[in-house]
């Protein structure tokens, strides 16, 4: 069964090719069968391959499959080869599983759209690229997938290309992530020129042998890889594209900009963890970037009016947690949060999508309200998602993953106390902004009446994801609550287990957990006080002078857009306009010279035969003279 591994990325790719070539001639039913069927089959194959892999686990910790040689020049051989281990199996399972659910959801969500075939073709291509990224055995193949998902992200953000601002959002996402990608590519070049290898496993072994801990080259390469990860995962300072990326259809936001693509940066750092361990300062930077992003994005999420933008900021904030975990050396905790986050955030986006769908594309939460009774199933699933995101204790998956991260931030020798306090503040803010959405959208009076409830194709993914948003948390129970370290044992064959500083026993962990729980519950309670329509303290707060300065600032994402606009975009446009004059004149003079030369030469073409004969004679004489000399 393991030999079927190549089918997993090949199936969505085949789906894309079929839809791209014949999609225009297909009926809607056929498009659904091809678009969803390819992903569903890929998920089935993943289940088969995964079962076979786990049967031989951990005696056979990895499986390697080479299909053909992609590039073969002297000194460099790059194969199309797949590498399956515990980490990539986890990623593949999440991508195909959640990907299939979101495809199923899109069948109904996109049913009124003209670009039905185009949508499913892009989605299939995205899955193929994402699976290439996580299954790649060497860095160039990983980079191919990396750019592929960037391309699909661009295509799907600008899916409704008739709106100019959507096109602008797509370009922004593409260009901003391209900055990180360029750094990543440079890092790749340095690795290859220094170590003469591009295989992910081999190059890290070589790096660990060749470079001592903290050496310059290791730090430079790690920084460049980090820049790539930061761009893809929308962390500071390249986070500006993600809120605008919400221009795409909601299933796209759920699949690409919440569950899978934006976590590619986390995957990259986890995959290259041995390289990052050689560069402790960079690892610390990862933690600090994560902490800053999670706090800034949480504040922005708190004040957004657009439900999807609020969720986008919450995604940035949650990925901030993953970066923080990676930075303090809690590799498994980061991936556990990735797993739970992709379940509950996909759920939240899909539930938000069903609200938007029912309200005929209304996204402003101030025009929503009272939907609890009209859309009960959407309400309950959204509530489960929000509870998981804010980490409601014991019953939700978000609690277990976030608690693991915070405990690591407390107990890891790589961490600092202030990082833990920052993350704790983050849990409070998470509770606040998650339940702000609940109270604004589902409570209070009905402002926009819904025009019909979502159908089965949209409800099934919601229910399944809600189930997972609760249950995946039980894969890893902390020492104080059942002590079931299934997930960390599973990943321990790929990622190093976290060290703890001495003196961190169970009673300390229990106290720390109580603090985290209190903080999350306090956030939810505060949200009730602030945002429940009856109390409505938030509106009064927004009216104060502090509120009036902070609100637009936070809504605009801490002024990063304006800063980049002022620092880079405007000067650059100015420069192109000014120097454009001079450069244009250079080219114009070339035109003038060519034109005058042409006029001069055309005057020799008199049309008189005798003149031609004379020139031939003179030419012959000149040639003879030259030979004679």
């Amino acid at each position: 069964m393991l030999r079927l591994l190549w089918l997993i990325p090949a199936l969505p790719l085949a789906g894309f090719l079929v839809l791209a070539l014949f999609g225009g001639r297909f009926s809607r039913r056929q498009i659904v069968w091809v678009g969803c069927g390819s992903v569903g089959t890929a998920a089935l194959v993943t289940a088969l391959v995964g079962a076979d892999f786990l049967r031989g686990f951990p005696d056979r910790p990895s499986y390697h499959q080479t299909l053909w040689n992609w590039i073969d020049t002297s000194g460099m051989t790059v194969g199309v080869s797949w590498y399956l281990d515990a980490l990539s199996l986890l990623m593949v399972a999440v991508i195909t599983g959640i990907g299939f659910l979101i495809h199923l959801y899109s069948v109904e969500y996109m049913s009124g759209d003209d670009g039905y075939a185009r949508f499913f073709a892009y989605m299939n291509l995205f899955l193929a690229a994402m699976l290439t990224l996580v299954l790649a055995d060497n860095l160039p193949l990983l980079y191919l997938g990396w750019e592929g998902v960037g391309l699909c992200s661009y295509l799907l953000i600008g899916f409704w290309y008739r709106e100019p601002e959507y096109g602008a959002a797509a370009q922004k996402a593409f260009i901003v992530t391209r900055i990180g990608d360029t750094a990543f590519a440079v890092g790749l070049f340095i690795l290859f020129t220094q170590l003469k290898s591009l295989s992910i496993q081999q190059v890290q072994t070589l790096a660990a042998d060749a470079w001592p801990v903290g050496s310059n080259l290791a730090v430079i390469v790690a920084v460049l890889f980090l820049a790539g990860a930061v761009g893809k995962s929308a962390q500071l300072p390249l986070q500006v594209w993600l809120p605008d990326a919400m221009a795409g259809p909601t299933p796209v936001s759920a699949l690409i900009h919440a569950a899978t693509m934006v976590t590619a940066g986390v995957y990259l750092i986890a995959r290259m963890h041995r390289l990052f361990e050689l560069a402790p300062p960079v690892l610390e930077a990862v933690a600090v970037i994560g902490l800053l992003t999670l706090l800034l994005a949480a504040c922005s999420a708190l004040v957004q009016r657009d439900i999807k933008r609020a969720l986008a900021y919450s995604t940035m904030s949650q990925i901030g947690y993953m970066f923080l975990a990676l930075g303090v050396g809690a590799w498994s905790a980061a991936l556990f949060h990735f797993l739970t986050h992709s379940c509950f955030k996909a759920l939240l986006f899909l539930a938000a999508g069903s609200v938007i769908h029912s309200l005929r594309h209304e996204q402003d939460i101030f025009r929503m309200g009272g939907l609890r009774r009209q859309l009960p199933l959407t309400f309950w699933t959204f509530l489960i998602g929000a509870a998981a995101m804010s980490g409601v204790p014991f019953i939700t998956s978000g609690f277990y993953s976030k608690d693991w991260i915070l405990w690591s931030a407390w107990s890891s020798p790589l961490s600092h106390r202030w990082i833990w306090f920052g993350a704790l503040l983050g849990t409070l803010l998470t509770g606040l902004y998650s339940f702000r959405l609940i109270f604004r959208v589902f409570f209070g009076e009905v402002r926009t009446p819904p025009s019909g409830a979502p159908g089965v194709a949209m409800l099934v993914p919601l229910v399944v994801l809600a189930f997972f948003a609760v249950t995946v948390g039980f894969l890893e129970l902390p020492r104080t609550l059942g002590d079931l370290p299934l997930f960390s044992q599973y990943l321990s064959h790929v990622l190093p287990t976290i060290e703890t500083i001495p003196g961190m026993d169970e009673s300390v962990e229990a106290h720390e957990q109580i603090a985290v729980t209190c903080s999350a519950l306090l956030g939810i309670g505060l949200a009730a006080v602030l945002f429940l329509p009856r109390a409505n303290v938030a509106d009064r707060l927004a009216g104060t002078s502090l509120g009036r300065t902070l609100l637009p600032f936070w809504q605009g994402g801490w002024g990063f857009d304006r800063m980049y606009d002022g620092l880079i975009v405007r000067p650059w446009l100015h420069l192109t306009r000014e120097s454009g004059e001079i450069i244009d004149r250079c080219y114009e003079s070339l035109v003038v010279a060519a034109e005058s030369f042409h006029g001069w030469l055309s005057r020799t073409q008199t049309g008189h035969v005798r003149w031609y004969a004379a020139t031939v004679a003179v030419g012959a004489l000149v040639l003879l003279g030259l030979f004679a000399m």
Partner: protein, 99 residues
Amino acid sequence: MLTTHALVLAIMLFCIGLVGLLSRRNILYMLLSLEIMLNAASLAFIAGGARWGQADGEIMFLFILTLAAAEVSVALGIVLQLSYRFKTLDADAFSEMKG
């Protein structure tokens, strides 16, 4: 000695032909001048062949003869067409393809 005389004659014929080609405006006379130039070239080949005792010179002469015959047949056809179209034989009048 014979070679020198023959070559001088060839040069003179060639120059006469060239001058005629460049100075005459009637296209028929221009063709005549061209024939004179071709004959000058043939004479030079014959002289060379006689000088080195090789048959190459005469062979080249035969080629030039054939070429001249072909050229004249084509050229006279063109001249006929030109005189139909332009009602003149003045070469300077045919300047339709001026650059």
